[in-house]
Structure formats: C-alpha cells, structure tokens
Symmetry: C2
Subunit: 190 residues, 2 copies
C-alpha cells in the first residue's frame, strides 16, 4: 500500500501560511490551499478531516515551532543579560524568518476555527518565558512588576516591529536590531 507523505503535510502548511499572510484567514479556501500546494482538493481530506482540523493543526504546529527555537543556545549558568539577549534574538530572528507564522497566529487568535483546547495548549508553551523574566526579577535586574505584563509588553513590541519591518520590506540592520534590544532592555530593567 501507499503511505502518507509527511512532506505533503508540510507542503499544505506552507501553502496555507502563505495564503493567510497574503489574504488573511477570512479569504482562504480549501481550493486555494490545494492549488497553492499543487495537489488535488480531495487530497487535503486524506491528511485532515476538514478545514477546522487543518487550521488547528497548523496553529499548534506554528506555535510550537516559534517557542521551540527560543532557548537555543541559552545557558542558565551564564549571566542574565546576555542569556536574555540570546533568547530575545532567537525570537526576533525566528519571527522575521517566519513572518507568515506571525500573521497566521495573530489571525487565528480571534477566529472560529481554533478550539478552546488548542488555545489552552498554546498558552502552556509560554511558561519558559515567564521563568526567564522571573529569574531576572530575582536577580534585581528586571522591574518588580507583574511578569505577564512585562512579557506582554515585550512580545507585543517585537511582533509589531516584525510586521512593520516586513511591510516596509527593509532588512533590519544590525544597528537597528541593537537599538531595538536597547529599547526592550531599557523598558524592562529595574
């Protein structure tokens, strides 16, 4: 018998991400996705039970990806600031390189597709970020404010920056990146 092709799932995901970044979640059809992926519409239903499941799976996957990369190269034994910078940089780089995921996640958040369960799992993935900020607070380097507030502030700023960068299609220079880190750090530092 013929087996399912994992690369095909990836193909479908890429097609969906591309279309959502271009047209928004509101303007995306199963036909569009299959055409963009270069497969038949019916094939989508071999891999997913329907549109809802496709979007939920892609949401979970995108979300997991973006978190997974964040702590690459982070070493808890090194001082806080450079460690924080490593994570911060990982996040920024990932978001810049995966702009489509940024848009997709944003659009999904208020959508009829994402189930409460999918949403809950996405939330849980954020705990390492909380831990990181709390470490900085324990070391008196970061403001003693609600952790969630600080995190929200930074992530919102980063996200918007990534979007803005994309629209103006410049590449963020090293100078600008350093500057932006400075903005973040100055905002957070005690």
């Amino acid at each position: 018998m013929k087996l399912k092709d994992d690369r095909k799932v990836e193909l479908i995901y890429q097609a969906a991400l591309k279309l959502v970044a271009r047209k928004g979640l509101a303007g995306i059809t199963m036909g569009d996705i299959s055409r963009e992926a270069g497969i038949a519409t019916g094939t989508l239903y071999v891999y997913f039970t329907g549109k809802d499941e496709l979007i939920n799976a892609l949401f979970a996957c995108s979300r997991a990806n973006s978190v997974q990369v964040a702590f690459r190269g982070y070493d808890a034994s090194q001082p806080f600031k450079p460690g924080f910078r490593t994570v911060w940089m990982n996040i920024l780089r990932y978001k810049l390189q995966h702009f489509e995921e940024v848009v997709f996640l944003e659009q999904c958040f208020h959508s009829p597709y994402i189930t409460a369960e999918t949403r809950e799992k996405a939330r849980e993935l954020a705990t390492p970020f909380y831990d990181l900020i709390e470490r900085g607070q324990q070391e008196q380097l970061i403001k003693q404010a609600d952790t969630s507030l600080l995190l929200t502030f930074i992530m919102g700023a980063l996200n918007e920056l990534v979007k803005q960068t994309h629209y103006s299609n410049e590449t963020l220079s090293k100078r600008k990146i350093d500057l932006t880190f400075e903005l973040c750090w100055d905002a957070l530092k005690a």
Copy 2:
C-alpha cells in the same frame, strides 16, 4: 418619503465589531451581522453595496475614531513629557474602551476586504504621532532612532497590553497603568 437612519449605520457597525471580536473576520456573515443588529439582511444593502464596502467603511471609521481622540487635551506649549503622557493615556483609554475596534483593525490588516485605497488613507492618519515623537527627539528627550521604529515599538506594546488585559478580564489598575507608562518612557527616553 422615508429617510436613511444614521443610527442604523452605527447599529450595523456595532454588530459587526462585536462579532469580529468574538469570532474573527473569518467567521462573520451578513446574516450574523443583521441578526446581531436586529434588522433584516436585505436592509444591510440599503446602507452598503455589499460586504466589502461595509467592512471598508467600518475600517475607515474605526481607524479615524482611534486617531481623533488621541490628541484631546494635548497642548503643544506644555513640556514634552506630560504632553506625551496625555496622548499616550488617551490612546490607552480609547483602546481599552473600544477593544472591539482594536481586534477588528488588526484582523482587517491581512484580509481580502480592505482595498489599497482604504489602507493608504489609514496610514496618512498616523502623521500627528510621528510629529509628536520628532518633537521629543528635537528636545533631546527621546532616543535618536528611526521615528517609525519607536512608534511601532510603543504601539505594538500598547496593543498587546490591551488585548492581554481584555483576555484576563481584569481592569487595569492605576498602578499598573503608571507602571506601563514607565516601561514605555524608559524604552523611549534618550
């Protein structure tokens, strides 16, 4: 003869905003809007030529509203920091009170509904904000960085904060508001 009823347009807008905040732009139908507004579906077509026009009009209106309020009480002759705080506070307050518009504008940005023209008009509305930041830079109070970068940073942070506040349905205490302003100011200040 019977005249068009301006309050009805407002009713339609409110219904659409409410639904988009709840279900996203992807999950909203003309039937839903009319039901939520308490009018017949056909009546929507008395006021708008179709769904596209409705969404574009609401986008333009929402965007204009949020900008219009920002400079209320701002006096260019007073020192920069309190003036900036006034504007900042206006924006925050407006966004908190009009959460639905925040979500709607965000969802629209990547959607097939909004035309290039509508988008361009929205962009033009932002110039007073650029002017404000530039004033701060001239007075050496604000970092000498790309104005658009600074603005993007702040607006992204604020937006995310408003969303986060809404989801956790707490009311932002004065303490937290002051704290958040401090984050913004520390980020921007030279």
